[in-house]
Structures are given as structure tokens and as C-alpha cells.
């Protein structure tokens, strides 16, 4: 069977095909296969690996465009997922600068982590001498996010980063901001929430690809939602993102229960929305948007129940 690997030697990109007997690798992991190729066929092939037991996060790569943690993926899983294909394409994680072959540059990601101040600032009642106190419930609230091994699989899948990474950070950075902001020992969640807001929190496009591919089953998308809710609760509710979110809420609860796209645009971006008039006209012509709905539309069926549910969720959240 064949492995087409994306190579980069520091100057040029190229692809290289390696032919491997299936029997040699079918009992191995994806990392095992890479090691097999390096140690038997091509010593110049570069990738990173360390613990080989899915805890250090060093060996994230892409297979056929999707990210995998190399040591945590059995070849048999890949055979199954790709219906016994006999050719696999292996590439470095997307949305990172490639240093060589499958090895990517982690420095910008570390600098992004630095921005959200992941170190806990404990409440004044706690001390270095006596530590902290935390009950099981408070511990359970944050412990899932602590499974993050910084493998970068989520960032590789992130559509927002692919489109433009100048105003956004790797999804795991928000996850780490959330785990410390949401920690009951934390003195002030805003120490971490504020820099998250200033560094692209509202730019997530909700595609949920980060959650789909996390080898540890963490949902950065949910963590981003958590951070957004916390930001608004703490008064960081001006600007396009929060206005957009509030507009959804108003339509759902106070209005018809149907999203009003014209009002959404107006509420979110104000009059500057006129810049998008062209898009709106195209949509209207295509019958996708009814201009009369600016005055409100028909209330959806079961709207009362919907409002009840939202109110109940709000009440539960306050407790």
C-alpha cells in the first residue's frame, strides 16, 4: 500500500510516495507506521513524537485532510474509516507554519497561550502555604478541559484559522482560558476572559470541527460559548459579537421565535450594515429574505414553550 507524504525541506514543498507492505504495518499505530518508514526507508523523513501513549501530544498529523494523534490511532481504524483504501495522504497539521515535513512551529501557539494568562490567580482567602479548597462539583466543572494535551488537532481543523489567523487563536487557547476562568479557585475570571475577547473570541464561526476531531473529546466550541456567556454576564457586552448574540435572543424570546435576518444585521452592525446592501438585495431577489419582516413576522408554533424552556435554563444557571 502507498503513503503519499507532504514533504518540506526548508525551501521547497513536494510530495513523496512510500510503498509499504500492509502486513508490516497493520498491527501498528499511525505513529508506528511513520517510524517504520523513517527507520527502514527514508531517514530524512521528519516528524515529532515523544511519549507514544497519547498523553504528550507531540505526534498530531493529518491523514486525508483530517487531524489525528499519531500514537492514538490504530492503522486498522484508518482502514475502516477510509474503507480499505490502499493509499493514504499524510500531511502536517493545517494552520501551523511547517518547519520540515510533518513538523510544525509551536512558538506562535505558545505566545497565544501567554496572551490569555493561563496561570491561576487564586482568591485572596487561599495561600501558597495552605493551598486551596475546592469541592467535587467545582472540580468536575473544569476537569474535562484539563485533558487537553496541546496536540493541535483542533487548530488544524479550525475553519476560522484557515480563512484568517490574524484575528483568531487556536481553539485550545480558548479552552485553556475557559478552564482557568471557570475554576472556583480563580480570583477573577476576567483576567483570562478579557484577553480572550480582545484576541478573537467572537470570531469563532461555530463550525464545531474542533470538537469533532479532538482526540480527548474536548469541545473548544463549547468552551468558547462558555467564555462568551461569561464575558457578557460580566459586562463585556458591547460590540458586534455580543450584539449579534443578543439579537438571536431577542428574536427567540421576545419576538416571534423566528430569526429575523434583516433585524439581525441592523442590530449587529448598525447602519454600517448598509455596506452589505448588495448581498441583501441578491438574497431578496432570490426569495431568501422578505423585506417586510423588518416589521416582525408570524410567531412560530410552540413559542410559549420555547420561552418557558429558556427561562427555566436561565433560572437553573443562576442557582
Amino acid at each position: 500500500m502507498k503513503f503519499i507524504i507532504d514533504r518540506f525541506d526548508g525551501k521547497k514543498n513536494y510530495q513523496q510516495t512510500y510503498t509499504v507492505e500492509k502486513k508490516d504495518i497493520e498491527a501498528l499505530t499511525l505513529l508506528g507506521t511513520l517510524l517504520f518508514i523513517k527507520q527502514h526507508q527514508d531517514i530524512t523523513l521528519n516528524f515529532t513524537a515523544s511519549c507514544r501513549m497519547a498523553i504528550c501530544g507531540a505526534c498530531g498529523v493529518r491523514v486525508n485532510g483530517h487531524s489525528y494523534l499519531g500514537c492514538d490511532t490504530k492503522m486498522t481504524e484508518l482502514f475502516e474509516a477510509y474503507k480499505d483504501a490502499d493509499t493514504f495522504r499524510i500531511s502536517p497539521l493545517a494552520n501551523y507554519t511547517v518547519i520540515s515535513d510533518l513538523a510544525v512551529d509551536w512558538e506562535p501557539a505558545i505566545e497565544n497561550l501567554r496572551k490569555i494568562k493561563p496561570g491561576l490567580v487564586a482568591k485572596d482567602k487561599f495561600s501558597e502555604k495552605e493551598g486551596c479548597v475546592q469541592n467535587q462539583e467545582e472540580y468536575d466543572r473544569i476537569v474535562k478541559q484539563w485533558d487537553c494535551v496541546l496536540c493541535g488537532c483542533c487548530a488544524s481543523e479550525c475553519n476560522k484559522l484557515s480563512a484568517d489567523r490574524s484575528d483568531y487563536m487556536e481553539p485550545f487557547v480558548y479552552t485553556q482560558a475557559w478552564r482557568v476562568a471557570n475554576d472556583s479557585r480563580s480570583k477573577d475570571p476576567m483576567i483570562h476572559v478579557k484577553p480572550a475577547v480582545l484576541n478573537g473570541l467572537w470570531n469563532c464561526v461555530h463550525c464545531h470541527e474542533c470538537s469533532n476531531r479532538c482526540p480527548k473529546h474536548i469541545s473548544s466550541a463549547d468552551d468558547i460559548a462558555g467564555l462568551r456567556a461569561l464575558a457578557m454576564k460580566k459586562g463585556l457586552n458591547s460590540g458586534v459579537g455580543p450584539a449579534h448574540a443578543k439579537s438571536f435572543y431577542t428574536d427567540l424570546v421576545e419576538d416571534s421565535g423566528r430569526l429575523n435576518e434583516i433585524r439581525l444585521a441592523l442590530r449587529t452592525e448598525g447602519v454600517s450594515t448598509a455596506l452589505r446592501a448588495g448581498t441583501a438585495i441578491t438574497l431578496m431577489r432570490a426569495g431568501k429574505m422578505n423585506p417586510l419582516e423588518i416589521f416582525g413576522g408570524h410567531t412560530i408554533e410552540g413559542h410559549k414553550d420555547l420561552v418557558k424552556m429558556i427561562e427555566a435554563a436561565k433560572a437553573a444557571n443562576k442557582e
Partner: protein, 616 residues
């Protein structure tokens, strides 16, 4: 629009906004430019006040401690990899430290257990101080954000660890090491520690007895450069990779620090003390933790016999690590195992526990069985064999008060260092507190030293750099060589060390190994790497690492041959008894300029704990 337009492409195009891709600069210059407050140097060499090699828990704690001690100093952590890829993340069980005195536990009891567990090769004054610091370290870790599992009162929870007389192993589920490492990284970022990733320390320069800096290779570019530092902390981890395929530690733990220290003329203390864990997976040595036996797992030989009844009938599978490991190896040696040579194994069976219990209590272990042995331990017993786990030996450090080596300006911490806490056998739960405690002390003292010291001249450092630059050219320059030469040698070294210096040692096997080492060294020197590209040449990195492993193997062999007794993990079949009259002392290995190794001894410090027989 093409019909191939997928959902992902739609999303990507939908969210394109104005803005250029962020461009990042990398490398030595940036790390130093951002943090260096030191005096500019005429030689053009990068400089740094406190340089820390290694980004595991010890390195990260050292960095934070140095920053806190003196915020005016530049502190840079150098790592072959991204921080958090270290062996520390792989620790599972927990971290020892007494924080609850209500059940009669005390620092003294922790120290006593440590001394006894180490088969009395522990410096007792050190063990006592260590136990005190370990208790404080737990609270500090909690305070800086480590999410420990909690008891009903909301305090740090604890579990039992092997060899402990009280329950004092604090934990965060079964991933304490991972969580501790990430806590330490967070704290390092908070305290403004700078990182130099993808940099490999090739050598360490000692001139006129003082440490003047290190030679670094930027793996990304291939540039080999001297870096002068006022003080250096070696936190490079252990060297159990000398048993290549029979160890639980990561690929990167190749004893680079210990080897560099040896080459620089420093002392490698107790190098023969390498700990074995009884249950690693047969292929690759990853750990199946004690939890499997704790839950009721049994060991079976190829006759289907529960063979532990032959060795420790009253404790069976729950006997101490070293005894279970020796029992398994005996079965394999006497033909009652499966497979042959390095592929030999016995079975660990948990199937009788039932699917429900396995899924609930041993999910990680089941996952590891699937990954490495293609075995679902719900259905079938899993193939296991003992695996090297921890190096008690390391760079000689004069005292736990400073973690300083005899060379002013050079400090060591964590598994790379040997300040004689673990003696001949480390207790479960003592490694994480070793890394945390010794890392912090090394950092504080490195900062104190750097504040008073100046930079060395860097002459020898320059010479070493030139030597390594030409070495790289020599090894890779021709582009010739067989792809498999180095990897085959690495496996052969591992197997030879395992069979001759592994769980069972004898004079004749050790002497045979010495010949092997000489042969390996000659083969190693002749290896050429068929990759001329300096950019991220990981093959060259692995070549250097293999050289370090060879050096560590030779030092360990020297200690193992000279120590004619059995003590802790060092088990000599020709000297079955512990011999306190002659060997209650540390082996101290050094190497001269010609590469000859020498052995000296240093007495163990005995304190309040009486030397007695270690009984199980």
C-alpha cells in the same frame, strides 16, 4: 462554482475577512532579545543569565523560581521539543507529600519510607529535608492552579502508593503527571519565562572549573551556536532509554544532560541504579500501571499457571515492584514465557473482572492494550514484560540545599540529578515531588548565583562549538550511509543492556557487555547519516542521542560491575546479599579527556534511621 465545493470550503470562504496572516519570527535571537537584560557581549555570542535545559516539571519549576527570585534576570528554558512533551506528563499515580497529619503521618515517616524503599542507599539528611519540602510543594501546586482530585472536605485527595506506611500519595485522577506539567507551563507563562524550543544541547562547557555556557543546535535551522550563561540548570531527565525498547519513558529521554556532564568532567553518581517496573506492554514497554494488579489482575505463564505463588505466596501479584519483575523474568528465562528473545512475555489477565469493571476502573489500560498489542483485555489476557522505568542515578549534586554541582554555575534537577533521595530504588509517587522540589531549589540558587557572577570568557565554548559544527558535517556531509545502521545499533544496544545489565546481573554477563559496548562504540563512530539537510535533521538528533545513551550505558556498566552486592534495583545473582560493610556508598563515575572512565566511592550519609534488612 465547482461541484467539488465542500462544506469546509464554504465555511472558510464565508469567514474570510481582511487581514494578513500573522508572521512570526523565531529562534535564538528572538528569545534572547525579548528577555535579556544582561550586558552585551563583544564576542557576538547570545547570552542569558539563567539558562535551563529541559522543559519537564523540574525545568519549568526552576525557571519560575529563578524569575521570582530575581525578576531582573533573563531566564530561558531550552527544549528539544515543545514544553509539555516531557516524561513528566507520563506519570500517572500521584505525588507524595504529607499535608494531612491527622492519621499520624509525618515528614519523618515519609523520609523513613523513602530511605527504606531506597534500600538504605539514600542520604538520610537529604531524605528528611526532601519530605518536608514535598509537603509544602503540594499546597504550592494547588495554589498555582493544579486541579487535584478532592476529598469530601474539598482538600487534596490522596491514595496509597507502594512502599508507603501511610496514605500520602496526592493525585489528580490517573493523570497526575500530565496535569502537573501543564500547571507548571501555565505558571511559567504567567511568570514571563521564555522558551527556546527545538533546540538541542550538544555540550556543556566548564572552564577553570566554572560553567560558562552550553553549545546549542537549533534543530529548525541546523545552526550550532554557543550560548554563554551565568548559570545553567540541567533538567534533562533520565537515561532509561539505554534499554531502548524495554522502557516506559518517552523517546526523547536519552540522558543528554548526564552525558554532557560526563564529557565536561563532572560526576555521574550511582549510574547503575535503574528501576524496573514489572508490567510494560511487550512491544515498546509502555506501562500497564499497578492499577491492573491492584484491581485483581493475575499473572500467568505459558502453562496457564499463576506463577507468583512460587515466589511470594502471601502477596502474590501485589508484592513489591522489584520482586514481581524478577519473578516474571525468571519465568521467561526458564522457558515458561511466550515468544523469544526481546519478544518474550507472560500474560496479565483481568478478564475475570468483567467488562463493566474494566471499562469503569481500567479504561486507560485497556486502551493501551489495544494500541500496542492489538488485544482487548476485556476478552483476552495481555502480553506484558518488565520495563525500565526510572533512573535513580544522575549528575552528582552536592546538597539538596542548593542542587549545585561541584562546578560553580552549574546546577541539576529532577531525574537528571542525583542528590540521593531515591537511593537504589525509588518509591512510587516520589518522582513528581523530586522534580518539583529539586527544580525549585535549583532555580532559586541558579538565580542567586547569576546575580553575583559574570560571564565566562567563552573560549572553550567556542572550541566546542567548532568541534560540533565539523562533527555535523562529518556525520551527515557525505549523504552516504545505510538508513537502518543507527536504528539497528540502537536496538542492539537496548537488547544487550537488557540481557546483561537488566533485572539479573552477574560478573560474566557484565564483562561480556563491556566487550559489546566497545564494539558498539566502534560501530557508532563509523555510522554516517544519509541526510545532508541541516533543516530539522532529526536523524542527526537521534545520532547524538544514541551517542549519549552509549556513554550512559558505559557508566552504568562501570557501577554495576564494581558493586558486588544486591541492593534495590541492582540485583547481582553472584552476590545475592546486600553488603553494607563494603557498599553502603555511592558509586561516582567520571570520564577523563581521553574518554577513559574512572570510579570512585562516596559514603552514604546515615542519620536517624537505623540501617536494617529490607523485609517484605
Amino acid at each position: 462554482m465547482s461541484e467539488q465545493f465542500t462544506r469546509r470550503e464554504f465555511l472558510q470562504s464565508a469567514c474570510i475577512t481582511m487581514g494578513a496572516l500573522a508572521v512570526s519570527t523565531t529562534g535564538v535571537e528572538k528569545a534572547f532579545a525579548a528577555s535579556s537584560t544582561s550586558t552585551p557581549n563583544s564576542s557576538g555570542m547570545p547570552t542569558c543569565d539563567v539558562l535551563i535545559i529541559g522543559s519537564g516539571a523540574a525545568g519549568l519549576r526552576a525557571a519560575v523560581a529563578a524569575r521570582k527570585k530575581n525578576p531582573n534576570l533573563s531566564v530561558v528554558v531550552v527544549s528539544k521539543v515543545m514544553p509539555t512533551r516531557s516524561a513528566t506528563t507520563m506519570a500517572e499515580g500521584g505525588i507524595n507529600g504529607v499535608i494531612d497529619f491527622s492519621e499520624g503521618d509525618s515528614f519523618e515517616l515519609h523520609a523513613k519510607d523513602t530511605v527504606k524503599g531506597g534500600d538504605f542507599l539514600v542520604d538520610q539528611d537529604t531524605a528528611m529535608k526532601f519530605a518536608t519540602y514535598a509537603g509544602a510543594a503540594i499546597h504550592e501546586l494547588d495554589y498555582i492552579g493544579m486541579p487535584f482530585s478532592r476529598d469530601s472536605k474539598g482538600n487534596v485527595d490522596k491514595r496509597y502508593a507502594g512502599g508507603a506506611s501511610k496514605i500520602r500519595c496526592n493525585f489528580a485522577e490517573d493523570k497526575t503527571g500530565h496535569i502537573l506539567t501543564h500547571t507548571c507551563l501555565d505558571d511559567a507563562l504567567k511568570n514571563g519565562v521564555k522558551f527556546l524550543m527545538d533546540h538541542h544541547m550538544l555540550d556543556l562547557s566548564i572552564e577553570n572549573g566554572h560553567c560558562e555556557g552550553v553549545v546549542l543546535r537549533n534543530i529548525r535551522t541546523g545552526d550550532i551556536a554557543p550560548v554563554r550563561a551565568k548559570s545553567v540548570v540541567l533538567a534533562t531527565g533520565g537515561y532509561t532509554r539505554v534499554f531502548w525498547n524495554r522502557t516506559s519513558t518517552p523517546y526523547i529521554a536519552t540522558g543528554d544532560g548526564a552525558a554532557a556532564a560526563l564529557r565536561a568532567g563532572l560526576i555521574f553518581k550511582d549510574p547503575e541504579m535503574l528501576q524496573f517496573h514489572p508490567t510494560g506492554v511487550c512491544h515498546g514497554g509502555t506501562l500497564i500501571t499497578e492499577a491492573a494488579r491492584g484491581e485483581g489482575g493475575i499473572l500467568l505463564n505459558n502453562l496457564g499457571e499463576r506463577f507468583m505463588k512460587r515466589y511470594v505466596p502471601n502477596k502474590m501479584e501485589l508484592a513489591p515492584r522489584d520482586i514481581v519483575a524478577r519473578s516474571i523474568e525468571t519465568e521467561i528465562r526458564e522457558g515458561r514465557g511466550y515468544g523469544h528473545d526481546m519478544e518474550a512475555y507472560v500474560l496479565l489477565d483481568v478478564t475475570h473482572l468483567g467488562k463493566e469493571k474494566i471499562m469503569k476502573n481500567l479504561p486507560q489500560i485497556r486502551h493501551i492494550g489495544m494500541l500496542f498489542e492489538n488485544m482487548d483485555l476485556v476478552e483476552k489476557p495481555i502480553a506484558i514484560r518488565p520495563t525500565a522505568h526510572y533512573s535513580m542515578g544522575g549528575i552528582h549534586v552536592t546538597s539538596l540545599d542548593t542542587m549545585a554541582t561541584p562546578a560553580p554555575g552549574l546546577f541539576a534537577a529532577g531525574e537528571a540529578a542525583c542528590v540521593s533521595i531515591h537511593g537504589a530504588n525509588r518509591l512510587g509517587g516520589n518522582s513528581l515531588c523530586d522534580a518539583t522540589v529539586t527544580g525549585k531549589i535549583a532555580g532559586i540558587n541558579a538565580a542567586e548565583y547569576a546575580a553575583k557572577a559574570g560571564f565566562g570568557a567563552g573560549k572553550r565554548l567556542n572550541d566546542l562549538t567548532l568541534k560540533w559544527t565539523s562533527h555535523f558535517k562529518e556525520i551527515t556531509g557525505s549523504g552516504k550511509g545505510n538508513v537502518n545502521d543507527m536504528y539497528a545499533l540502537r536496538e542492539e544496544l537496548g537488547a544487550a543492556n537488557w540481557y546483561n545489565m537488566g533485572i539479573f546481573r552477574t560478573e560474566s554477563k557484565l564483562l561480556a557487555l563491556a566487550d559489546k559496548h566497545a564494539e558498539f562504540q566502534a560501530r557508532y563512530d563509523a555510522i554516517r547519516i544519509p541526510n545532508t539537510n541541516p533543516v530539522f535533521n532529526t536523524a542527526y538528533t537521534e545520532y547524538v542521542e544514541l551517542g549519549n545513551l552509549l556513554l550512559a550505558s558505559r557508566a552504568a556498566l562501570m557501577g554495576a560491575t564494581a558493586r558486588k552486592e544486591s541492593r534495590g534495583s541492582h540485583f547481582r545473582e553472584d552476590y545475592l546479599k546486600r553488603d553494607d560493610a563494603n557498599f553502603l556508598k555511592h558509586s561516582m563515575v567520571t570520564m577523563d579527556e581521553k574518554g577513559q572512565m574512572h570510579l570512585d566511592w562516596k559514603d552514604v550519609v546515615v542519620g536517624q534511621f537505623k540501617i536494617e534488612e529490607r523485609k517484605y
